[in-house]
């Protein structure tokens, strides 16, 4: 019973979090953002079933998200047209089944091999589907995409999902359900063999399993959950267009999973929340927000390969053993350099953006952190270069201290482990 409660506790906590979130962040924009987050959590987790769990690097995951969404939106329009009694909450399931179907179809080709071959095939399938979206205009709707009206569907216990809050709760419910299901999958014989195939596909064959079959099943599940996410996106935006299944949407899944951390189950959840938040807020602030994204991704890949969650776990481990204080001085030492270099980089990017880009028509003055900087004059550039140069040099110079501190911490962490 206690074990059961302990098993249930994190999910209950998540459910409560989902339930109270709109009361804490009640504004319309917050509601929209949280709806997108819920969708992206499912999408990122479905992607990590391939990358983190099974060791398959896909470059075309948006195919299943997008096709799930398109099928869902056509299903909604068909339901409206034929006046069927299918309510909105059923629609994501249709998206999921579409994702599953296409996952099976393309999986037959993609999962034949692992590694680079797999990645190349998913890239090819991704390009194939996204380019066909401009040819098959009746299905994909060309440039404008396909629209729908979710409140025209049959009411669900009196709810027509007109207001955003109702859509939010619908997404939250599907998100919770999907997260629990995907977590449960990792704890089954199939899920564990996926980990084995990620670690060593050759040996898997010698304990009686077909690596290809394991990859295939994982691919179908990933397609299914991506399709659910696509269906939710279709309900949320009431529009699907070809961007939703293009390469940029595919790399978004990789970004979210990687930034959050692919080696833990919770990583992609955290990644989806962070990336969605930045995507929406940064795109308001800067026209080159994708550039910051790319830089952040490179930073994580180079310096925190286990993502944000991995980084936090590492520090929690140190904190639990009472070793965090050893790290503090070295962190304090490198922080000013980091901040200076970061500020310098942001200034350089924004100044360059203003000076060389089309937005120059808005004048040469950039407002950064409330300060107006004229990109046509030298002083802001000099300050930016100095900040970046000195900051980066300071970090580079002082970084070995961080390494030494971690060395000391690790020594103590491991010496207490049983031999």
């Amino acid at each position: 019973m206690i074990a059961f409660m302990r098993l249930l506790a994190p999910w209950l906590a998540l459910a409560v979090l989902f339930a109270v979130a709109p009361h804490v962040f009640a504004s319309g924009s917050a509601m929209t953002m949280m709806s997108v987050m819920g969708t992206m959590i499912i999408y990122a987790l479905s992607y990590n079933m391939l990358l983190g769990q099974t060791g398959l690097l896909s470059f075309g995951h948006a195919v299943y998200f997008g096709l799930g969404g398109f099928v869902a939106i056509h299903a909604m329009n068909a339901v409206i047209h034929a006046k069927l009694g299918v309510p909105v909450p059923m629609i994501p399931l249709i998206g999921g089944l579409a994702g599953l179907g296409f996952g099976f179809l393309f999986g037959l080709v993609s999962t034949k091999r692992a590694g680079i071959v797999f990645s190349m095939i998913t890239l090819g399938v991704g390009e194939l589907v996204s380019s066909s979206s401009f040819i098959l205009r009746t299905f994909f709707g060309g440039e404008e995409g396909i629209t729908t009206n979710r409140s025209a569907l049959a009411p669900f216990f009196g709810h027509r999902f007109g207001p955003q809050i109702e859509v939010y709760y619908l997404i939250a419910a599907w998100c919770l359900l999907s997260v629990v299901a995907m977590y449960a999958l990792t704890r089954t014989p199939f899920g564990r063999m996926c980990n084995a195939v990620r670690d060593n596909p050759e040996r898997v064959e010698f304990v009686g399993y077909s690596p290809r079959m394991l990859r295939m099943i994982a691919f179908c599940f990933a397609g299914f959950f991506a399709g659910i996410a696509g269906g939710l996106a279709a309900i949320n935006f009431e529009i699907m267009n070809s961007e939703q299944l293009a390469a940029q949407q595919s790399s978004l899944a990789l970004f979210m999973a990687y930034i959050g951390g692919v080696s833990s189950f919770t990583g992609p959840i955290v990644g989806a929340v962070i990336v969605t938040y930045l995507q929406i807020t940064l795109s308001d602030v800067s026209s080159v927000w994708l550039l910051y994204f790319g830089l952040m991704f490179i930073g994580v890949v180079l310096y925190a390969p286990d993502g944000v969650v991995g980084w936090v776990k590492l520090h929690r481990q140190a904190a639990l053993r009472g070793q965090l204080w050893r790290l503090a001085p070295s962190y304090a030492l490198v922080t000013p350099g980091f901040v200076a270099a970061g500020l310098g980089a942001i200034m350089l990017i924004e100044l360059a953006n203003r000076q060389f880009e089309l937005v120059q028509s808005e004048g040469s003055v950039v407002r950064l952190f409330g300060i107006g900087l004229d990109a046509a004059t030298a002083p802001p550039w000099i300050v930016a270069f100095l900040l970046f140069g000195v900051g980066a040099a300071a970090v580079r110079l002082l970084w070995p201290r961080v390494g030494d501190a971690w060395g000391a911490v690790n020594e103590r962490l491991h010496s207490r482990e049983p031999a």
Partner: protein, 250 residues
Amino acid sequence: MTAALSLHDLRKSFGAMSIIRGVSLDIENGERHAIIGPNGAGKSTLFHLTSGRIRPTSGEVSLHGERITGLPPFEINRRGLSRSFQITNIFPKLSVYENLRCATLWSLGHKYAFWRSINGLRDVRERSQWLMEQIGLTGRRDVPAGVLTYAEQRALEIGVTIGGGADVIMLDEPTAGMNNSETEQAVALIRKVTEGKTLVMVEHDMSVVFNLADRISVLVYGKIIATDTPDRIRENAEVREAYLGQASHQ
């Protein structure tokens, strides 16, 4: 009576190079059979051909009378032949316990089950626990396999190999790179876990071979030049010249 494992005129060439040049061998049920031979004789290749890792150019492999030539490794494994590797081949990021669990799942009939919790499978739990005790790694249950000591990894390699309960076990140099006491322990372990099973092993350590094997085959340049009891192999002039004698000169 059909042999547990039977090779008939097995051949393998890579391009113009013949590695295995017509090997025929019958290994009886319950026999402990060692394959010895100089480096490059094709011992590991013979293992790969038998276990399905590579396909033979011609010839036949039968397991309990059933033809298994050209089947993929997992099909051969499901029919009751399991092998280990010369270079440790386990799941480095998974714990000792999880490594062993992976090895038991198929044979206990759980296949690709995605509808039931793995922790709830009592047969898997008990068998993995039993395996862990057999190979003496109970104290290392949750340690990732990648950070085990070399001897521990070799023990785990054997554990993963016998995990599925196969009745034909093939071990490729199980004591390679071990010191004397580690080798002694490994031999005791092999003896214990292959009790009542058919064992085929490649081994370089002659004391291990003569200690464990019921019969020995000597493989030289892709051909078996003699198959006999350890005593007679020791006295065989051709073997002495081709292999044992040569070894003593080194």
